[in-house]
């Protein structure tokens, strides 16, 4: 099957609405390898967000397979190593996939520090001291250690998104999923968030990024997926996508956004 270093294998993934009248995902197949920075581009309504959200089952696919750590996570039950049928533990699975949203989705009733320590403490059972130490280290990395006791409402959009990124990192995920992380930001704040993401890519984090930032796709991505109408049309390197695109839909899309 796939190479040993592939982290997530997506096989013929489909997501239909209204009994198949709308095909948000129409048979997408892709391998996400360890260390990949995979950037997903495409016109709006092309299914790229649905694809990303299917990876950690925020959307339940209609058909197809997503194999993560050797288990098909689209099935409610799977056969484990000892041959027993066990129920899929979706929560422990999602811990390993960090997710960053377009609208940040910080918890407004908690301080930044509490936002970051909640999941490590409640889900992983990390002690409060340890969780806070780790959170402060992460906040320091994105230059926000001094805002640890602020509430999300007191932060700018760019600051919120940086917190959202390190909140997901605090769970030490195997892969980070970004759903249009800069689309809701004022233009002058886009850079600070992209810088954090670049840093993350440099450290070797596996990332899947849905974005409209073509500069980021070209500069940071090692693979670019172009989607349209729920289908994966091109899966290639940034050079193949941006320097000499052959697919007519891709050419048309690039002529509009570049």
């Amino acid at each position: 099957m796939a190479t040993s270093d592939s982290l997530i294998q997506v096989r013929n993934l489909k997501k239909h609405y209204h009994r198949g009248a709308i095909k948000a995902l129409d048979g997408v197949t892709a391998d996400i390898n360890k260390g990949d920075v995979m950037v997903v581009i495409g016109p709006s309504g092309s299914g790229k967000s649905t694809f990303l959200r299917s990876l950690n089952l925020l959307e339940e696919p209609t058909d197809g397979e997503i194999i993560f750590n050797g288990v098909d996570i689209t099935k409610k039950k799977y056969v484990d190593a000892s041959g027993k049928k066990v129920k899929l533990d979706i929560d422990s699975l999602r811990q390993k996939m960090g997710m960053v949203f377009q609208h940040f989705n910080l918890f407004p009733h908690m301080t930044i520090l509490d936002n970051m320590t909640l999941a490590p403490m409640k889900v992983k059972g990390v002690s409060k001291e340890e969780a806070e130490k780790k959170a402060l280290e992460l906040l320091d990395r994105v230059g926000l250690a001094d805002r640890a006791n602020a509430y999300p409402i007191q932060l700018s959009g760019g600051q919120k998104q940086r917190v959202a990124i390190v909140r997901a990192l605090a769970m030490e995920p195997d892969v980070m999923l970004f759903d249009e992380p800069t689309s809701a930001l004022d233009p002058e704040m886009v850079g600070e968030v992209l810088d954090v993401m670049k840093e993350l890519a440099k450290e070797g984090m596996t990332m899947v990024v849905v974005t409209h930032e073509m500069g980021f796709a070209r500069e940071v991505g090692n693979r670019v997926l172009f989607m349209a109408d729920g289908k994966l049309l091109v899966d290639g390197t940034p050079e193949e996508i941006f320097e000499n695109p052959t697919n007519p839909r891709l050419q048309e899309f690039l002529s509009k956004v570049l």
Binding site: G98, M99, F101, N105, L106, F107, H109, V123, A164, A168
Partner: protein, 261 residues
Amino acid sequence: MDSFIKLSNFGKIAPYAQLFRQGLLVTVLLSMFTVAIGFVLALILALMRMSNIRPFRALAVDRNGHLREGGPLVWLSKFNPLSFIATAYVEILRSTPVLVQIFIIYYGVFGMIDLPSFQIFGFIKFNRFFPGVVALGMNSGAYLCEIMRAGIQSIDQGQTEAARSLGLSQTMNLRYIILPQALKNILPAIANEFVVIIKESAITYTIGVQDIMSAVNAVKGATFIIIEPLLVATAIYFCLCFPTSKLIAYFERRMSHGDKR
């Protein structure tokens, strides 16, 4: 012709002031317990209504594994017994008079159960007070349930998505993320329900709860004076409800101010 109010009558009912003081305490206690019971009941009902337990879920899929188009099996597959029970409860309680509910609870349910006949503070008859609290609490729970459901549903879906994507279970998500935010939003509505219950609790004098209204009745029976005790009761109810609702409105403004960007 007699005038509507005789000032001298107030003098005649003055010896019964103690009854009104006790009635005031009963009314306040009754309302507080009612809202407490109503709150817990409403939370349970709201969670039942929003649950996604469908025992016949499998019926929606046909032999080939495709979703069925329609028909009775699809209808059955969507059946959620918890939600059905909670919805039925809420609709029945909201569509029948509270007086009928109180009589059914008092004469029906507690007619079969022997309550201990001790007195709280030496004058509140427990075997009257308790059925009153239960009946009003059950009624209030039905109304608060709808408030609570709206409060929970008003929280952005993104909050749940963020919580679940961090690995929090649905229960943890409710406990740490959704309920704290929802309850803060509906706190003014719950406080308003307290004011509503203060007024509605007057009806419990019909089953012998010694609230403010029952004091009016006692004075009427002893002195044959009716208007003046009613005016005293009116004044007491107003002094309870008006400042309380103004206070709630004040805190509501303060709290919404904090939410602004």
